[in-house]
Amino acid sequence: MKKNPLLVALCYLIIGTLGAACADAQATPRIQFEKYRLPNGLEVILHEDHSTPIVAVDTWYHVGSGDEQVGRTGFAHLFEHIMFMGSQNVPVGAFDQMLEAAGANNNGSTTEDRTNYYETLPSNALQLALWLDADRMGFLLPTMDLPKVNLQRDVVKNERRQRVDNVPYGRADEIILAALYPKTHPYSWPVIGSMSDLSAASLADVQNFFKTYYAPNNATLTIAGDFDPSTVKKLVALYFGSIPRGPEVKRRLTVPAVAIPRDTFLVLEDKVQLPRLFYTWHSVKGFSKDDAALDILAQIIANDKNSRLYKKLVYDLQIAQNVSAGQDGSRLDGKFQIDVSPKPGQKVADIDRIVQTEIAGVISGGVTQRELQRAQNLYKASFLNRLASVLGKAEVLNSYNYFVGNPDYVQQDAARYERVTAADVQRVAKTYLGRPKIVLTVVPEGKKDMMLTASGGDR
């Protein structure tokens, strides 16, 4: 049973006790890998890990909801569902039946930027996953028909109901995106799309989307786990090598400018007992200069009992039920969000005053070394946790390969967070949270007067 020598070394190196040096104690391990490209353009990344007799096959297609056309929002995700409905050599239903009979778990997901499809399965069944994934990459359309599209359209509409429409505060996100980004911006609509656009999707849309984006030259196949690399390379060539290259995929590299000239106050009525406040600022894209500092800022502002807003609003004053914050940096753009749920009987204006005061406090007074250290240590541990499973490692490799062009980036990514200084946190707070913002109050039906307005507002 082979082991990664580096990992073995780490196991014995890091026996130490906690002290001020805690943050220096644990390095993020590198993931060994091999990357190559087939003549048809398919990128392949291999990572061996024989610790468990399983293997993860994780295919990323470089397309997401940000590539959708106006009037067809939600299509990239609908298409993802259709990819499980069989292909030329795989009858409807057989995709999942064969995988489950082989002991596999499989799924897919869609974001603004990319779509992934993955299987985790016993190592003897790797060939089955490759055959199935190759068939849908190369031969989806011959057996594609409208009933398949219609069926998954209904399933996806139910997914939307289950995740958005039948969930309290579920529609906040799409209201915010539409207010934050101009209409032509690829992130101005939600990944799940609108019901009317889902209704409009046609068989021709499926065919065109497949021909445009689902070609080997727009995908990365990452295999991580218990396999023999020379055997797997032959199999990958066998199954994927003859799939013809598609036309060159032109994806946008820039987005329309985002301009929010002044604070914008919105209200949404929902079937809820209590209002909730959502603050959103335009920020920066993922992996860009200030992205990590904004992640750290979010942690210091709201994601811990000792964080500024949680301690004040939830712990000390007990006027809020919860508060959270996050930097969401995607491929082309990003946003920073804080949401707060007042407790029953509390006014959003009172909450807002404290939110403003606390943000102003970070901007004017900065953060303490302890606050910074806590946030950095949590990030440091999270990198280790992402490497615990073969699927986790496949996702890490695919993600860095796609977003920074280099699968070998986990240590550099961890280092981004190590480098953040208290001055950086203060600076990004001032730069980004000092900007005009979108403020959405979700209120109980018929209680629009509970919304936060420029003048404070609520009664």
Binding site: G103, N158, P168, Q273
Partner: protein
């Protein structure tokens, strides 16, 4: 990692079958699925067991893949021992563990957790309470000291409890917004009634939460958090002898106690199939929870039920999901489960169904619940068995997964080689077994059908299909006065 593989006596790792690759290369035929070699043989983690003089049991599994370790302190008591009228005590006691110890304040604990980069999470269920620690081993000593302090010396400060109580009351208020959450509380309330602990909500009710005091929590803690009622599960990059010594130091003085006897009353007998309709005006979907009182974990039919339920609603290709999602598009997902506990837990079939198809969906549910009582075709049976057997290695990949897998072993006293025999036990389930357990445990004529949805638009349709009488209930599942 050492959990499976060539070093063990049982495990022989076989990669891809050589002959099938060779033939594929010679005459590659894309129209046929590849022939797979034999699956890797699996042997399960050697579990080291120890017991401290005070009765605390230890289960230790080494896993050295990453410098991480998981500790789960499993206490064998939970919501079922909540005193009458004080439902929620066990759950709130768990919530209070991180809110202060005799030497640490709530905010200090949170500060340490973040500073160490660890997860420290208490949970509580019907018959167990757990405190879980996930830590990089670089921080092991500090993390373990904090873990032990929180487990052994909670002080239940009154001011922190008032805050937690307010938070809980707000959570209970916000539950009204969520159809699925309402269904999850109403369904057991209806099938068990208020006289059985499984019928009461673990998180308490508005009335009980308002009435509780820190004395109630302390009393529950002192009675149940005892070493002779606990197992400490350790999985990860640890040296067993060293970790045992650390545990001895930290937990060795924990004092034994007299444990209360658990007594479960009989759940009420189920009547004829009835639709319990709970109004959620304007709901986009109807939340379905259909079922009855099921079986205890100790059932001799465990493996037959596991296979049967996999076919009915325990996998993506199960009948319920295939029918309601993949054939009809009524839902994003449908499934079923037997929740097995010390006493008979519920059998539940569930889905979130688009409101307009509420009645049609109920007919399909009933069709599948009847259909599973007929003989299952051999290929479907075989597929379900392979699914369960071959997934096993993937369930033992990470330290957290392994620790989680050991919880039922400790809680229900399963043999230590339980997972080693799992494949064989699943293999032994026959077509006749599946039919027998389906007929014995799924009774389409005496089901509780709980539906939380928009009454105005769904009631007429439900009446028309005549599956059962309709009873209107409130959000707690109780008759409306």
């Amino acid at each position: 990692m050492k959990v499976f593989g060539a070093t063990s006596t049982l495990g022989v790792l076989i990669l891809l079958a050589v002959q099938s690759i060779a033939s594929a290369q010679g005459t590659f035929d894309r129209t046929k699925p590849p022939e797979l070699g034999p699956p890797p043989r699996v042997s399960l983690p050697p579990i080291l067991t120890r017991q401290l003089p005070n009765g605390l049991k230890l289960m230790i599994v080494e896993q050295h893949e990453l410098p991480l370790a998981d500790f789960v302190l499993l206490v064998g008591s939970g919501g079922t021992v909540d005193p009458a009228g004080k439902t929620g005590v066990a759950n709130l006691t768990s919530s209070m563990l991180r809110e202060g110890t005799t030497t640490r304040k709530s905010l200090d604990i949170a500060d340490q957790v973040a500073f160490l980069g660890i997860n420290l999470s208490p949970t509580s269920s019907w018959e167990s309470s757990t405190l879980s620690l996930h830590t990089p081993t670089a921080q092991l000593d500090s993390a373990l000291a904090l873990f032990a302090d929180v487990a052994l010396h909670p002080s239940f400060p009154a001011n922190e409890f008032e805050r937690i109580r307010k938070t809980r009351l707000t959570e209970l208020l916000q539950l009204r917004d969520q159809g699925p959450a309402i269904a999850n509380i109403a369904f057991p309330a209806i099938i068990y009634g208020s006289g059985h602990p499984y019928g009461l909500p673990l998180i308490g009710s508005e009335g009980s939460v308002k009435s509780l005091t820190t004395a109630d929590l302390l009393s529950y803690y002192q009675t149940n958090f005892r070493p002779n009622n606990a197992t400490l599960i350790v999985v990860g990059d640890v040296n067993p002898a060293q970790v045992e010594q650390k545990i001895n130091t930290l937990f060795g003085n924990w004092e034994r106690g007299d444990l209360p006897q658990l007594n479960y009353s009989e759940p009420p007998k189920s009547g004829t199939t009835t639709i319990y309709l709970i109004d959620k005006p304007g709901a986009a979907q109807s939340s379905f929870r259909i079922g009855s009182v099921g079986v205890p974990r100790s059932t001799r039919d465990y493996f037959a039920l596991t296979v049967m339920n996999t076919i009915l609603g325990g996998s993506f290709t199960s009948r319920l999901n295939q029918n309601l999602r993949e054939a009809r598009g009524y839902t994003y997902g449908a499934g079923s489960r037997f929740d097995m506990r010390r006493a008979a837990g519920p059998f539940t079939a569930s889905a979130e169904i688009v409101s307009a198809k509420t009645d049609s969906a109920l007919l399909e549910f009933m069709k599948e619940l009847n259909g599973i009582r007929q003989s299952v075709p051999p290929d479907e049976l075989s597929r379900a068995k392979r699914y369960l057997q071959l997934q096993l290695p993937g369930n033992f990949e990470t330290t957290q997964q392994i620790a989680g897998a050991l919880v039922p072993v400790a809680l229900y006293g399963l043999p230590l080689d339980y997972y080693n025999n799992y494949v064989q036990n699943i293999e032994g389930v026959t077509q006749a077994d599946v039919a027998r357990v389906a007929q014995q445990y799924i009774s389409p004529g005496s089901l509780a059908v709980v539906i939380v949805g928009d009454r105005k638009t769904i009631e007429q349709g439900l009446k028309a299909i005549n599956v059962g009488a309709i009873a209107i209930r409130d959000i707690a599942g109780q008759p409306i006065q």
